[in-house]
Structures are given as C-alpha cells and as structure tokens.
C-alpha cells in the first residue's frame, strides 16, 4: 500500500515537471527568477494547465469509482450512463435561455441536469435483471445516446453545435489562469468523498449490509449522486469531458488494491490525474507545435482498455 502511494506521488511529480517544461513557447525553469516573461508564462499558462489536467483526471476518476460502487457495477462512469450528456443538455439550455449568466450559475444548472440524468439512469437500472452485469453499461450507452441526440438536435436548431464539440472533448490548450479555477472545487469534492470513503465502500456491499451496519443508505447514495453530478458539470463547463477516465482508472486500481476506498481512493485520484496529464502531454508533443486534445488521446486509449476490461475480464468479474 505504501509502495503504491509512493509510486503514484513520484509519477505525478515527474509528469508535472514535464508538463511545466513542454509547450509551444520557449521556456526554461532556471530563467524564472531572472526573466519576468518566463515567470508570467509559468504562472498564467503552464502551471494552470498542469493543475487543470491533474484536477480533471483526479476528480473524474473519483466520480467514476463512486458511481461504480453505488451502482454496484464495474462498467459504468458518468460518460457511459447519460450523466455527461445530461450535464451538456443542461448547459446548452442555460446557454440558450440566459446567455449572459455567470459561469457558476451555468455550472449549477448543468449539475442539476446531470443529477436528473443520473437519477433517470438509476430508475432504469431497477428494471434490469441483476444477474446480467454487462446489460448495465449497454443500457447506459443507449440511454446516454438518446440524451446526447436530444442535445445535438437542440444545438443544431440553435446553431450551437460547436459548443457541444468543445464540451465533449476535454482540451487543456485554452487553460489560462482565471479560466480554470472552478476545477479546484471538483478537487475539493474528491476530498469530501475521501472523508466518506468507508461509507461508499459499505454502500458497495449493497443495501442490506449497509442497513445492518446502521448506515443511512439513502443519504450516502444522495451524497454520491450529488458529488458525481457536480464533478461532471464542473469538468464539462471548464475543460470539457475526458471520456473513460472514470471507467478505466478505478478498474486498474481495483485489480491490485480492491474496493476498500479508504486505502485505494488516493491512488485512484493520483492515477486519474497522472493519466490525464500524460494524455495532455502526449497530445502536446505528438505533432509539435500543434496539439491534439487530451480528450481525444484518452478516448482512443480508454476505448481500448474498456474493450479489454469487457472482453478479457476474469471469470468472476
């Protein structure tokens, strides 16, 4: 356990250092003390971009693991269960109805839509046979497809399709100081989730076990839903969705560390942040000086890992 913490921390430090050093503009770390332009570049662009990627990855991974425990299914995350699409639909509606609304208000509207979308998914789940775990992600993908189609239709009618494109593909090249800070809120939510780590783990054992242990099961489900929808909305509003983070990261961590969140949540958050930062770095250098969005990089990687998880899972998944 200690070793996984140490590895995660080291990897994050190395990636963060690389992220600060790599970019279109010339930049050397030793110039920071002498050259005010270098310092400004560091503080307004490189550091915010690094933080944004770390916070996005960490909070999306935490949201994913919470969702998996509450739904009691390994193959769900906000992006495959309609939550992201609902968040986009909400954001679209508020953009249409109140274009001048402050970003915080837009985020709240988006989070409420995400909450409704997720509640709808949970209601759908009740009608599925529990013995068919693979049915859950399939139904989730269809459900999110329907909501996404609705959002696309509205965006098409209102000539806002490019907005959808921005929200759907996580991208960090536009991150500057003053334009990403909402993401710290997502990071804070991940910390709150850590405080309730035991409760989420117990909820993952099912309602009967939760009640037997005197836990207020409904309360923890609501806490989880609110956390996941807020994180989703915050990410969609600021940098755009990075698909598969919430799905792939918890699965990788669970293979070696299991589902005891008290122990594994720091690694889930660290790995999520690290992988998204790595995807962003990869996108920065692959056709330098042009950039490929981190969401696209992660989407390609994540889809492959998702398939591997679905098809190559052990007999007792």
């Amino acid at each position: 356990m200690r070793l996984s913490y140490l590895l995660t921390a080291t990897a994050l430090l190395v990636l963060s250092l690389l992220s600060v050093l790599v970019g279109a503009a010339d930049f050397r770390l030793q110039d920071v003390t002498a050259d005010p332009d270098a310092l400004r570049l560091l503080l307004t662009s490189r550091l915010p971009r690094t933080f944004a990627a770390l916070l996005t990855g960490a909070s999306m991974a935490v949201a994913g693991v919470i969702m998996q425990l509450l739904v009691r299914n390994r193959f769900v995350e906000p992006g495959t269960t309609g939550t992201t699409e609902a968040a986009m639909l909400g954001l679209l509606c508020v953009t249409l109805l109140a274009p001048g609304a402050p970003i915080l208000l837009k985020m709240i509207a988006s989070a409420m839509a995400a909450l409704v979308g997720m509640a709808g998914f949970l209601l759908l789940l009740r009608r599925l046979p529990p013995a068919q775990p693979l049915l859950v992600p399939l139904v989730g993908l269809i459900y999110s497809g329907i909501i996404g189609a609705g959002a696309t239709f509205i965006a098409y009618q209102a000539d806002l399709l490019q907005y959808l494109g921005v929200w759907m593909s996580g991208e960090f090249s536009g991150v500057l100081a003053g334009r990403y800070e909402l993401l710290w809120l997502a990071g804070a939510l991940a910390l709150v989730a850590y405080v309730a780590a035991d409760q989420f783990t117990i909820a993952g054992l099912g309602r009967a076990t939760s009640v037997s242990l005197g836990l207020n099961h409904a309360q923890i489900v609501v806490l989880g839903l609110v956390t996941v929808s807020l994180v989703t909305a915050l990410v969609v509003v600021t940098v755009g969705m990075v698909p598969f983070v919430g799905l792939v990261v918890p699965n990788i961590v669970a293979r070696t560390m299991g589902d005891n969140l008290r122990a594994s949540l720091p690694v889930v958050a660290g790995l999520g942040g690290g992988l998204v930062l790595a995807a962003d770095l990869f996108g920065r250098v692959i056709r330098y000086p042009y950039e490929v969005p981190a969401g696209t990089v992660f989407g390609v990687m994540g889809a492959a890992v998702f398939l591997w998880l679905l098809l190559g899972r052990p007999a007792r998944a």
């Binding site: 054992l205 669970a254 998944a317």
Partner: protein, 255 residues
Amino acid sequence: MISIRNVSHRIGQSQILRDVSADIPDAGITALIGPNGAGKSTLLNLVARLLTLQTGRIEIDGQDIARTSSRDLALKLAIVAQQLGVASRLRVRDLVGFGRWPHHRGRPGPEDEATVAEAIASFDLGALQHRFLDELSGGQQQRAFVAMGFAQGTDWLLLDEPLNNLDMFHARALMARVHALSRPEAPRPRRVVMVVHEINYAAAWADHIIALKDGAVAACGAPTEVLTNPVLSALFGMEIRVEELHGRPLILHHI
C-alpha cells in the same frame, strides 16, 4: 426476546403476511420454515428493518424497531442477507472488519482488531483473510459474510437462507459453527434467527421453529413438536414421513 405482534405486510396487490404474531425466544437458534412464498424472508426482513413495517409492531428486547434509530439497532442485531452475485472486491479481513463499523465509525481500536481476529479464527478464514472476496467460491463468500455479522458483536444474528449455494460439507460446517456460537456455554452466546430451506438442518440444529404458510404462522415450538408428520404434511401439502434419530426428528421428505 423478539416479539412480533399483528404484523401484516403487502407488496403491491399480494398479501405476503397476515396478522403474524410470534415470539422468538432469548436463546439458541430459531428457524423459520415453510413452503416457497410463505413469507419467511419477508418476516425476517421486517425484523431486520430492511423492509418498512406497514402494520403491527416488532420489539427487540423491549425496543420498538420503528422507534429506534438504525444506528442503535446496528448494535443489537446483525443481518446476513442472501448474497446474490457479490460485486465488491474487498479483502476478507477488510470485510469482516467492516462488521465493527457500528462501534468505531471509521476509527478502529485495539478491541475492534481483537474481535475481527476472533471472528476470522472461529469461521476458519485464516487462510483466506488476504484474498479478495470476488475471487472466492460462493461458500467461502457466505462464510465471510457470516463472520462479518458475528464480528458486529450483536446479541442477535439474523441469517437469510445462509445455506444457499453451500455444498453439504460447508452447510454442515456452517451450521455447527453457528450452533456452537449460540450455546449458553459460549463466551458470549448469540441468538440466531435463520430462514432455512432444507428442513433437516432445522431439525438437527434449531432450538425453536416457526412454521409459516400463506403468510400466517402455521405452527411454532420445539423441533419435536413442530416437525411431526401431521404438521409437516399439512404445511407442505404432501405426505411426509418423519423418523427419529438421536432424539431429533429426521424428515424423509424426498421419498
């Protein structure tokens, strides 16, 4: 004592329990038996507060479960529900450790560690304690969940069909363990209430039997009183031969 008074329950259109009144005595193992759909699990789930009481009253050692907080009840009774497809990937030791949650709420102390170690030893889980739950067989999972219920340290232990998906070796071993824990000479005797499908386990190990049919109590009492040819034949609607072995009923329901 658990006293059940005038409990009726309906789910949708169907009446599951009709005016059930029964006392579960303060010692040993009480088995709920009856045909499919008799309402055994519903009754157990009502006592366990997994279902909300619609009419009637249930008291556990004088405490009305409708008026006692779930947190306080977690110190009085532990429930081991049927585990249908365990999705969690916890190590066995961590799972049993969560049985102590009602006591420490996140900060386990030395006495919690000791109780967990005791539960692991008494359910023979030492070799499995660092394994992940989802990599164990159904029988091993069941044993781990019962150990968790035991670690909760409550006077009452409610088991919903604990012998489901156990082979005869593990079924007998589990019954023998639970039986030993419920004897008066055990260090801290537990009172056990369980839903049992295979009636011979009730005949061999239970101290008290409550037989349900069509949502009502058909008979209750000691195994020698309830597990007789006339009672069982009426209960299951077929002629059932009952013999005696070592002073306990032996039910030849399969021939």
